[in-house]
Assembly symmetry: C2
Homo-oligomer: 365 residues x 2
């Protein structure tokens, strides 16, 4: 499978939900497979909070593939021999699309805290512009989990004629206070980190030592992505063998895991981007801009496929069920599957075997 | 109801589970009601992570009563006209018992990180010494929730002839990785707070501005004490009216609540104590020092009363059920109640009406 990575540069303004304007802006994106003549084989993949446009395949010299590689590829559930798959880095993120550390044109200085708040609606609008610029005016399917699922649903509501199928998993119709509270740990930890310095850090400030605030916030994130069961299975009460049980800072294995993962993450991910994307997640509400959730949902023309995970403690199955019931009452085209999984929220990244047949089936119809 | 608050000073060594010694040490404690002649009307109350010896009644000039005032008092479920109720501040805590900011005798300097790690077993042993010093060699009941429930169970295992009844609620037989992970947020946030300064802060360092690390850790704590339902009921998606929706640091009500509560808490509670008590919670394992959990449980002679809360996401009902099943298989005297509650872990502090009849019934037998 060939990976093509590109950056599209837009000089026309992006009118944001806030009333502010982003101009100019870049969207970094990746494609797999070939666009057919009829341009009707496009599948758009939307990434989650910490994800990127690199959804599948291996970069040269890398040992870790894209974040949904188990799902996307030649002969896989999202078959790149048939489909032209696109995944974009959302605006606000830090992997090549315009975000808070991008230059605030016409200056060469980064926006930092002057970057406008972007919403899921804005992320979706930016992706529409990219697709238009590629001559793509409709897609076969839009697929995403977590924040990616929010985007998929927002596409369905805002652009009812754009996608034939929407597959949204491990997500919600509006972010609930429980998820906002988890995000709050990161917001406060980053803001209060002196090296964050109110957003005025050097571009390579966190490259070596990482950003403490982001690492701490990410521990809370990891908790919300896992579950008592997945942690029990993975770590139990095992203690780090070189640490003394009666040393104050001696660690259980679950603690070492948290330290290691979040430490690495905080060297790679930009803390300002984290704040902006968390804001987009917190403010996500399908009904905003419409009379009600009912009115928003009524606009949908695509076939909606909702997948929740029984052990998801971040976006609870009942949130997707709420949406399913609404679609059902309106006799709109939908399916809803609750996948049995103890893995927690991250099931959408990990338990592919449990839901890839649903994806294949939607695509083969 | 009369409140008597005292400090007991011990010059004999407390031999800790770690092999280290605490000497001398103080235990601050509070009593309500009157000790009868037979000294058989004693009820010991054990507090949770952030609790204190002030379990009931109002201090002069204070508008907030002790933390279990709804349960303890004249004519209440734990009736202070009948019982002599004692609650001690655990060692390691910061409300008057010896903890990391106490003087490291014979110097006048605080222990800080030289304070020995204390365990639930050590907390219980210290309370045994206090009770002995008061001429109390057996008690009617020991009651506690969360870390207080750990102590109650540890009493039952380590001193099988000491208490007739044990009521342990919202707790576990051994702290699971899920709870340890929540605590990890606090551990890392405190350690990485520059003002924490590796424990070398001035005694009044956090009095005015609070300790950022502790406040951040406490946000994660609050999440684990509540639930999606209780947050949904309490806050929903309400936004702070003076904050702009599209301001990066504009807040949902749930965020304001977290800021406010944790900010205040971090002015009052000592961050070193928090680290030491979290360590005691993480290392809690009823089976340590015995061949197995089975062997530990088999030692119990008291009537055990276990209460879990269906919505408790910190110590899951199934953890108490595990203990109940073990007691059942051994034909030991026990009751187990799972209280239906959406409140989350804090139900043991909040939903008193749902379980106080169980407490009264145990005491009246």
């Amino acid at each position: 499978m060939k990976i093509t990575t590109k950056v599209a540069h837009f000089t026309s303004p992006l009118y944001l939900e806030s009333g502010r304007i982003l101009e100019p802006y870049d969207i970094k994106y990746e494609t797999y497979g070939t666009l057919n003549k009829a341009k009707d084989n496009v599948i758009l993949i939307c990434h989650a909070l910490s994800g990127s446009h690199h959804a599948a395949g291996y970069y040269e010299g890398e040992r870790k593939p894209g974040w949904w590689d188990g799902l996307i590829g030649d002969g896989k559930a999202i078959d790149t021999t048939k489909y032209f798959v696109i995944c974009t880095n959302t605006i606000g993120s830090c992997f090549g699309s315009t975000g808070p550390m991008s230059s605030n044109y016409p200056s060469n200085e980064p926006y930092r805290l002057k970057f406008p708040v972007v919403t899921i609606k804005d992320m979706v609008k930016a992706q529409m512009h990219l697709l238009s610029s590629l001559g793509i005016y409709g897609v076969h399917s839009i697929i995403g989990g977590s924040m990616g699922g929010m985007q998929a649903l927002q596409f369905a509501v805002d652009y009812p004629n754009f996608a034939k199928n929407i597959i949204a998993m491990a997500t919600t119709y509006a972010t609930q206070p429980w998820a906002i509270a988890f995000n709050k740990v990161a917001v406060e930890a980053i803001r209060r980190d002196p090296r964050f310095n109110n957003g005025n850090y050097a571009k390579d400030e966190f490259k070596e030592l990482g950003c403490d605030g982001l690492a701490i916030g990410r521990i809370a994130g990891h908790i919300s992505y896992l579950s008592p069961d997945s942690m029990g299975d993975k770590f139990g009460r095992r203690y780090v063998s070189n640490d003394g049980l009666f040393e104050l800072f001696g660690r259980y294995e679950v603690e070492r895991y948290m330290e290691y993962n979040t430490g690495n993450f905080s060297k790679i991910f930009d803390p300002l981007s984290y704040l902006y994307i968390v804001k987009a997640i917190n403010t996500f509400n399908l009904s905003r801009g419409y009379e009600s959730l009912y009115d928003a949902v009524l606009r949908i023309k695509a076939n909606i496929h909702l997948i929740s995970f029984s052990g998801d403690l971040l976006f609870l199955p009942r949130e997707m069920e709420h949406l399913a019931k609404m679609l059902d009452r309106n006799s709109q085209s939908y399916t809803y599957h609750e996948i049995d999984s103890n893995y927690g929220h991250d099931a959408f990244l990990v338990e592919l075997d449990k839901f890839k047949s649903i994806v294949s089936e939607v695509l083969s119809r």
